[in-house]
């Protein structure tokens, strides 16, 4: 069955939310400050619903037939002090393990980049845990460079 990359459909809300929760759990592997809340699933469904309804937000899925195997969520953000003004911000990006290492991630990223550009983005940023070396390598390999460092500690 051919793989499709497209906007998420209403009936795919639950599946997309499940993958969003997996992203968050994966992040938790890299830092305890990413501990995932107990009711992550309903929160993720509201998050997905909200994303699908907003014109400045993007929810892409990779689907094989009716099976959702990957998700990418992004939004357009305006910068107050810097130029370029408009950034396309990728907040969540997840592909199920058995569909990895097949260039699907690259396709989804390029698809999202094109859509975000149409939505007004002048450049693209992506947010991943500092310790997630796989994700860091993924972006660096595709021409991204680290822009800021976000540090955390107990108060």
């Amino acid at each position: 069955m051919p793989m499709q990359i497209r906007h998420a459909k209403k009936e795919e809300l639950a599946a997309a939310a499940d993958l969003i929760v997996r992203t968050k759990r994966l992040n938790n592997e890299f830092d305890p400050l990413f501990a995932v809340v107990g009711d992550a699933k309903p929160r993720a469904e509201r998050y997905v619903l909200n994303t699908m309804a907003a014109p400045d937000k993007l929810l892409l899925v990779a689907a094989e037939g009716s099976k959702v195997v990957g998700v990418l969520r992004a939004e357009i953000r305006e910068r107050t002090f810097y130029e370029p003004h408009m950034e396309g911000f990728i907040s969540d990006f997840y592909i199920l393990p058995e569909f990895r290492r097949k260039a699907l991630g690259n396709e989804m990223l390029e698809h999202a980049s094109a859509e975000l550009k149409k939505m007004g983005a002048e450049f693209i940023v992506a947010d991943v845990p500092a310790q997630n070396e796989i994700a860091n390598r993924f972006y660096v390999k595709r021409g991204f460079r680290a822009l800021t460092s976000l540090f955390g500690r107990a108060p």
């Binding site: 997996r22 759990r25 994966l26 592997e29 199920l96 393990p97 058995e98």
Partner: protein, 486 residues
């Protein structure tokens, strides 16, 4: 029998167990029986040994002060001979080897010497008891190598701070050795250590808790499948437990022809499948289990052991101490003529009677007091014998599969039944047969430094193993090795 090296690790200071059955399993049993007795568990669950192995092990170990030691292989007719065995004569040998390091396999005992290395992090069922605590176990292993395989094995537990340190230590040993046996290293560290050393060293590196257990399991499975009219390809096999033994068993089964889609691996969190909630955690922390989760379980069965067992043909449990970890109602959902192996020692995941009550037809355990003992000692002495005889550079999975096939074939020659799917430890004729197959497989796989004919392989193995038995007989008869005090 080659005798070009000057000393060998022998049994000059040792006493073998009656019947040559000084097996690892016995060590397991004696240690853990003592533990169970200490915990006050129902002793009827564990058959009481006729003899008090723990008491004897302590008393005899003290009496002999160790189980193996070095002994000369060359005559010392007078002190003048040291001018040959040592300086100045030895310099000529050194120069020859310097010019061609491969000659170290001809002019020294390297060709027949292995190290039994452990970091003491997972010793028997005792856990991380440290390298000193591991030493008596490694000595026992060395003794079995010597007596059953004619292999000079040096017990070598090491104190290392990290995985990298362990890897560099073992790598540095290469010039002195014909092979390395890794032992009692915790999972998943053992996978990385074995994979790295196998790829980086030019002598065989073997981790018995992985390859040995997997090899004997495969042999047992071959005969159990034969008895129940099945083939490996097309049989549904459930592996319960995802530690060293079953991770290796999964790989070996697939190499031997099992369809990965027909295999299901179950760990303490349930059935492994590509979308299990902790799959990303596995990817980061245990890539071996992660790969298994991705490529097995074609039907995408989810849930617990019982869900995996529905319609399964065989169960290989290497999951932890029983005796009621698995219940008869779980076995009852398996296919008819079910095959069940319970490998935990000393208490199997399920006792044979309970498995039979659940409908199992073929039942094997790791214990010597039930029929069908899946015992690593049936393979490792012979595998190294065969590998060393052809100066193998590695022990490939195909060599292990050949060994498993021969182990199974030996039992078939004797006549298999539901109570006899594997040879027993006293049938020592099986060792040279396996060694010969392993040597021939190494030659076919192009990992042998030395070519031998099939008959030559068998002769070499026979003479080495017979030599070891002869040394033991001679040393005992002459009173060099005394019987233990009563």
């Amino acid at each position: 029998m080659k005798s070009s090296h000057v000393v060998s690790v022998g049994v000059t200071n040792a006493q073998s167990c009656p019947g040559g059955g000084a097996s690892r399993r016995l060590l397991h049993e004696q240690v853990e029986r003592a533990q169970i007795a200490g915990k006050g568990r129902d002793s009827s669950l564990v058959k009481r040994p006729k003899e008090d192995f723990s008491r004897k092990a302590l008393a005899y170990s003290k009496f002999y002060g160790g189980k193996v030691g070095f002994s000369p292989k060359v005559p010392v007719r007078s002190l003048d001979d040291f001018s040959i065995w040592y300086t100045p004569g030895v310099a000529a040998v050194s120069k020859a080897i310097e010019a061609n390091p491969e000659l170290s396999f001809e002019y020294t005992g390297r060709w027949n010497t292995i190290a039994v290395v452990s970091d003491g992090t997972r010793v028997l069922g005792l856990g991380n008891i440290g390298p000193e605590g591991a030493l008596p176990v490694m000595e026992g292993k060395a003794l079995i190598y010597n007596y059953l395989g004619g292999v000079n094995a040096i017990p070598l537990p090491v104190k290392v701070g990290s995985q990298e340190e362990l890897i560099s230590f073992v790598r540095a040993l290469e010039p002195s050795l014909g092979g390395v046996n890794l032992e009692d290293i915790e999972s998943p560290k053992c996978f990385e250590v074995l994979d790295r050393l196998r790829s980086e060293m030019n002598i065989p590196v073997w981790h018995d808790d992985q390859q040995g257990t997997a090899g004997v399991t495969l042999a047992a499975l071959y005969n159990a499948l034969e008895l129940t009219g099945r083939k490996l390809r097309g049989s549904k096999v459930v592996l319960f437990g995802a530690g060293a033994a079953n991770v290796a068993a999964e790989r070996l089964l697939v190499k031997a022809g099992a369809d990965p889609k027909d295999l299901i691996v179950v760990d303490s969190k349930g059935i492994l499948h590509p979308e299990r909630e902790d799959i990303d955690q596995l990817m980061l922390k245990n890539k071996w289990k992660y790969e298994i989760a991705i490529h097995t379980n074609g039907d995408r069965v989810t849930g617990e052991l019982k869900d995996a067992l529905k319609g399964a043909d065989a169960l290989v449990a290497a999951a932890g101490q029983g005796p009621e970890m698995i219940k008869p109602d779980q076995i009852a959902v398996m296919n008819r003529r079910a095959i069940t192996f319970f490998l935990a020692n000393p208490v199997p995941e399920m006792l044979p009677d309970a498995a039979r009550a659940g409908g199992a037809e073929i039942i094997a355990t790791g214990r010597s007091d039930y029929p069908n003992q899946v015992n690593n000692s049936l393979l490792f002495p012979a595998i190294f014998r065969g590998a060393l005889d052809v100066r193998a550079k590695t022990i490939t999975d195909s060599m292990v599969i050949e060994a498993a096939k021969e182990l199974a074939a030996f039992a078939r020659d004797k006549g298999i039944s539901d109570r006899y799917i594997l040879p027993t430890m006293v049938q020592w004729e099986v060792f040279p047969r396996i060694a010969a197959k392993v040597g021939q497989a190494a030659i076919r796989e192009r990992v042998a430094r030395k070519r031998l004919s099939a008959a030559g392989s068998l002769d070499a193995a026979m003479s080495m193993i017979e030599h070891s038995r002869k040394v033991m007989r001679t040393l005992r008869r002459s009173g060099v090795i005394l019987d233990p005090p009563e």
